[in-house]
């Protein structure tokens, strides 16, 4: 198996940083799933593709824009009409979907090496993300499990709410290091722990 390397390695410093004397506002980490796969359905085939995602991952994807869900192993959410991002803690998910999704239903794109997955967790997670994205991060507008596509300064980012105070961010791997540094700067004010 190929040894996984992180693009954050030169700037990843575990421990407490910033203004943490009054407590840690957020925890930042890289979640490094083994697989990150993008699935797209042809017009009229969305329901069949969702059924395949449900059967492979045992997640229940609801109808509706941006709906998603996660388990200990998998995460999935809609990020565009008839398009879904699915992650697996193990490698090999793209090969599984390539077998399960016939070309008449849709397409499978392996992004495992193309994206970096970051997690921000803590009482100040919404506050810190709101500095970077023009998005309503409240749980009323951004419910648990759901996902969005947005940009930071024209850099594409997909975000899933992975917990009441937790978000997973998927960014281009080639931009991950600068994005990580920016995320750390944004979290400086509230105090952050890297782990």
């Amino acid at each position: 198996m190929v040894e996984q390397l992180s693009p954050l390695e030169p700037v990843f410093r575990a421990g407490s940083h910033g203004n943490f004397v009054d407590g840690i506002g957020v925890t930042l980490s890289e979640i490094a799933p083994g697989s990150i796969v993008q699935l797209a359905a042809w017009p009229g085939q969305e329901k069949k593709l969702m059924a395949t995602i449900n059967s492979v991952t045992a997640l229940k994807l609801a109808d509706g824009a941006g709906a998603g869900a996660s388990s200990d192993r998998y995460a999935a959410f809609g990020f565009a009409p008839a398009k879904f991002l699915v992650t697996d803690t193990s490698e090999g998910l793209a090969a599984t979907f390539a077998k399960e999704v016939p070309s008449a239903i849709g397409t499978v794109t392996d992004l495992s090496h193309g994206r970096t997955a970051l997690r921000i967790t803590g009482a100040k997670a919404e506050w810190v993300l709101a500095k970077l994205f023009a998005i309503d991060f409240s749980s009323a507008a951004f419910p648990l499990g759901s996902g969005i596509s947005t940009t930071h300064h024209d850099i594409f980012t997909q975000i899933q709410r992975s917990g009441p105070a937790s978000f997973d961010l998927y960014v281009f791997r080639s931009f991950a290091r600068s994005f990580w540094k920016m995320l750390c700067h944004a979290a400086d004010e509230v105090g952050y722990e890297v782990r």
């Binding site: 023009a134 507008a141 969005i148 596509s149 947005t150 024209d154």
Partner: protein, 99 residues
């Protein structure tokens, strides 16, 4: 200015790319009539008021959208997927809405 994408909900205009006048009809590709092509490429209504426009949600779901925007006030009175004819069917999270 906010545009309410039928998939993503209300988003800042910086996420969208303007794709031009939505009133244009591409001439028959077999046509060699220069007047027709000249009109397609250059002639614009340029109204002071409601204007049909095509935008792409380039920094979001990447869908192409048919938008009616008031050129005097920037008020957006209608947004639907450009591929659809008729009203939007994909209701997404309006501000404050539940899943």
């Amino acid at each position: 200015m906010l545009i309410t994408c039928p998939y993503c909900g209300p988003r800042d205009v910086s996420e969208f790319a303007y794709q031009g006048d939505g009133n244009r009809k591409r001439p028959d590709p077999a046509s060699t009539d220069p007047e027709t092509w000249n009109a397609y490429v250059y002639d614009r209504l340029n109204p002071a008021g409601a204007h049909n426009e095509i935008w792409q949600h380039a920094g979001g779901c990447r869908a192409h959208l048919a938008v009616v925007r008031d050129t005097l006030t920037h008020e957006v009175s209608s947004v639907r997927f450009a591929r659809e004819h008729g009203a939007p069917t994909h209701g997404r999270r309006k501000s404050g809405a539940k899943a």
